[in-house]
Every structure is written in C-alpha cells, then in structure tokens.
C-alpha cells in the first residue's frame, strides 16, 4: 500500500490510454507525456501499459507501507525520499515507512511516478487511465486526495537493477519558450493566408486554462475567409460542418485564443481545426506551463513520421539499457 499524505494539485493514475472508443466520443486520456511515462515503466521493469501516477506542477507526499522499486521521469520536479534528494530517470528502491515528496517545479510541468508492478485500479474499457471529466477510470475516477491508499499491482515483467540511470542524451530539457511541430490542416483553408502565416510567426502565450483537456493560447485575432454558411455549420466564421477532432488539433473559436485539444478533450465538433500537433510533440506539450510561450512550426508528414521513429529508437535503447543490466 501507498498512503497519500498530500495529493499535490492534480495527481492521477494514467497508463497508455483508453484507445478504441474515440468514435463514440470517449477520448483516450492516458499519460500526456507518453515518452517519459514509457521510460518510467522501463526503468522499473513494468509492462508497457502499466499504470503510473501523473503529477502536475506540484508533487504529492506519499508514504510507502511496503518496500518498492520506483522511477520518476518527466519534467524537473525534484524528488526526495525522507527529505533527501534522489535522482530522476533512475531506478530507485524505497523502503517500508519511507516518505516520497517533491520540491517546487524547476522545469517542465509534469512528472511520472512509475512503481514496479504498477498501480492496481480496476480496468475500464481496456485501460486504467483516469478521465476526470466523466469521473471514470483510475482511482475512483478522480485526482488523488489526502488519505487515499493505493495498492501496488502485478504488472512487473522483469527486475531492473537499482541505480540504473537513463543517460542525459535521452532526457528532454525544457525552457520557458517552446517550439511545437504541427501539420497544417484539416480546415486551415478557412484561415486567410495572412492569418495562416501569423499563426506560425507569433509566440503564443499559454493561459491559465491549460490542462489535460486542452491548452488555450493568447496572441492576436486570426481571420477567416469570407464564405456562405454551409449546411450543418454554425454561423460563426470559425465554424465548419462537424468533424472528428484529431488529438492535438488546434481550433480557434471566433478567431480568438487558439485551443490545442489534448488527451481528455472532446472528440469532435464544429470548429475549424487549423493545425494538428504531431504525435511525438504531444509529449513536449505536456511539459509546457501556464505563462510560457509556444511557437508552432509547420512540418510535413514525412518529418512527423521520422520524429516518431526517432522516439521509438530512443525507447528501444532505453529498453536495452534496462534489460541488459539485470
């Protein structure tokens, strides 16, 4: 058992996500920074889809009531065991009675606590991920609260030697200004040429409305091409006939404040989506904080697929490293 002494501000159980229900309006949820989440599971020898804790901005304080093997990955929210700093991206052991806590966030926005065996919560539609808006999945469908008790599961596949550390070259670093790669579309034809360019040229500021559902940005108004309202579309120029929203798609309701839709977002609707964050950079999006800035860089599908291959290569190397040091 792990006892939650302090919950942090939004600590939820997440795995790879609830895939396969998008068409009935169920978003996947799941770890927002999938790279860090997967690396965490590799460091503790878990199966790929084992459930971890996703911690946002402020770490929880957890008392372990049994010995455990853990790893903390993601942005930099420095962990401590019994008030002594311990490294991130490293296989750690924690003893019965020890307390895991965290310092203030230094960079990034989220960390993942992987525990050998994973966190034992009921599987719902193939996933242990929490979807807080619908109050389902994870630990009672909600973020953790003080007094909760988490049970360690049986999702460990192999044991990894204590002290196994991921080399620096595989650890992303985050500044306060970010570049996020997007593919332009699906409905970018609705923007004027000038606004399309402004979207890519501007440094967008992340507003306080930035969470697992989506990130809202401030910059300047974008303008849409004049048109006759098509059948089934709303009257606002930013409306189109309803479509499925890709995860990572960016819409601009009324031309003000673009919103990037993320893991817990609505799955479809009638706003023109002007660009979509490439899947690998969704992990980076998860590490962006309110009040930081983002510049969107347009890439083509080849580059997006190459980026995906590169992340797979990195995770394969991490897998070799963790399984080779048994």
């Amino acid at each position: 058992m792990i006892k939650v002494l302090e919950p942090g501000i939004e600590t939820t159980v997440q795995d790879k996500g609830r895939e396969g229900y998008y068409e009935i309006g169920m978003p996947p949820s799941g770890a927002m920074d999938r790279y860090s989440y997967l690396a965490g599971n590799l460091l503790v020898g878990n199966e790929e889809n084992a459930s971890s804790l996703e911690i946002t901005y402020m770490g929880p304080k957890l008392q372990f009531e049994e010995d455990a093997v853990i790893a903390i990955t993601g942005g930099e929210i420095p962990p401590k065991i019994n008030d002594e700093p311990v490294p991130m991206w490293t296989t750690l052991t924690i003893k019965k009675g020890d307390i895991l806590s965290f310092d203030f966030v230094k960079s990034g926005a989220r960390v993942y606590l992987a525990i050998a065996g994973g966190i034992d919560v009921p599987v719902l539609q193939g996933s242990r991920s929490t979807y807080t808006l619908c109050q389902i999945g994870g630990f009672e469908g909600r973020a953790l609260k003080a007094g909760d008790e988490l049970k360690i599961g049986e999702m460990q596949e192999t044991s990894v030697k204590e002290g196994t550390a991921i080399p620096d070259e595989f650890i992303p670093a985050y500044k306060k200004s970010h570049e996020i790669r997007v593919i332009i579309g699906l409905c970018s034809y609705r923007l004027t040429e000038e606004s399309k360019q402004r979207f890519l040229d501007l440094e967008w500021k992340v507003t306080p409305e930035a969470n697992r559902v989506g990130y809202r940005f401030k910059g300047e108004r974008l303008n849409f091409v004049e048109r006759e309202q098509p059948f089934g579309a709303g009257s606002n120029p930013s409306n189109v006939t309803d479509l499925g929203y890709p995860i990572g798609s960016i819409q601009v309701p009324d031309g003000i404040e673009p919103i990037a839709l993320l893991n817990d977002a609505v799955t479809g609707g009638g706003y023109a989506t002007i660009a979509t964050v490439i899947s690998t950079d969704l992990s980076h999006m998860a590490q962006i904080k309110t009040n930081e800035t983002v510049k969107f860089k347009a890439v083509d599908l080849d580059e997006a697929l190459e980026a995906r291959k590169e992340v797979r290569r990195k995770l394969d190397k991490i897998r070799e490293l963790t399984t080779g040091q048994k």
Binding site: M58, F104, N211, K289, T290
Partner: protein
C-alpha cells in the same frame, strides 16, 4: 541574506483576496506564520492557496492582484 520570500509553486492568476467581495488575506507590514494563506493561484480551472513557507513580516508584494505569474516566482518579500 536576511531577506526571505514567499514563492508560488504554481503558475496561474495570482489573487490577494479569497473572493472579489472580501479584503486581502494579508497587508504589507503584517506578521505571518509559516502555513498562513497569503493568496490564491488560479490554474487548470481551480484555485490553490499560496501559503507562507516561513514566518516573518510581509515587507512588500512583488506582484499585483490578478496578474499571471510563473511557477517558482516570488510573490512577496518577508523580513
């Protein structure tokens, strides 16, 4: 370095009062104890209390009410 500070662990909109109709949590010159609430930060559609990490006298606030602040930003100086 005798100067101490109150730091917000979170980014978001900083408020000095619990609600628009009420007064400030603390005024400059006032004594605070560790754990006293000195403001709120609104982020991810929730409000979180910002507490003094140590005791002292609030010398000055370094951010205005209702401004957006960074995680780790000093919001007030303590003496």
């Amino acid at each position: 370095m005798s100067d101490k500070a109150i730091i917000s662990p979170l980014p978001g909109v900083f408020y000095r009062k619990p609600s628009p109709e009420e007064g400030n949590y603390v005024e400059e010159g006032q004594q605070v104890e560790a754990g006293d609430v000195i403001g709120l930060v609104e982020v991810m559609k929730n409000f979180h209390e910002i507490k003094a990490q140590e005791s002292g006298t609030v010398e000055s606030f370094l951010v205005e009410n209702e401004t957006v602040i960074d995680a780790g930003q000093e919001v007030a100086k303590l003496k």
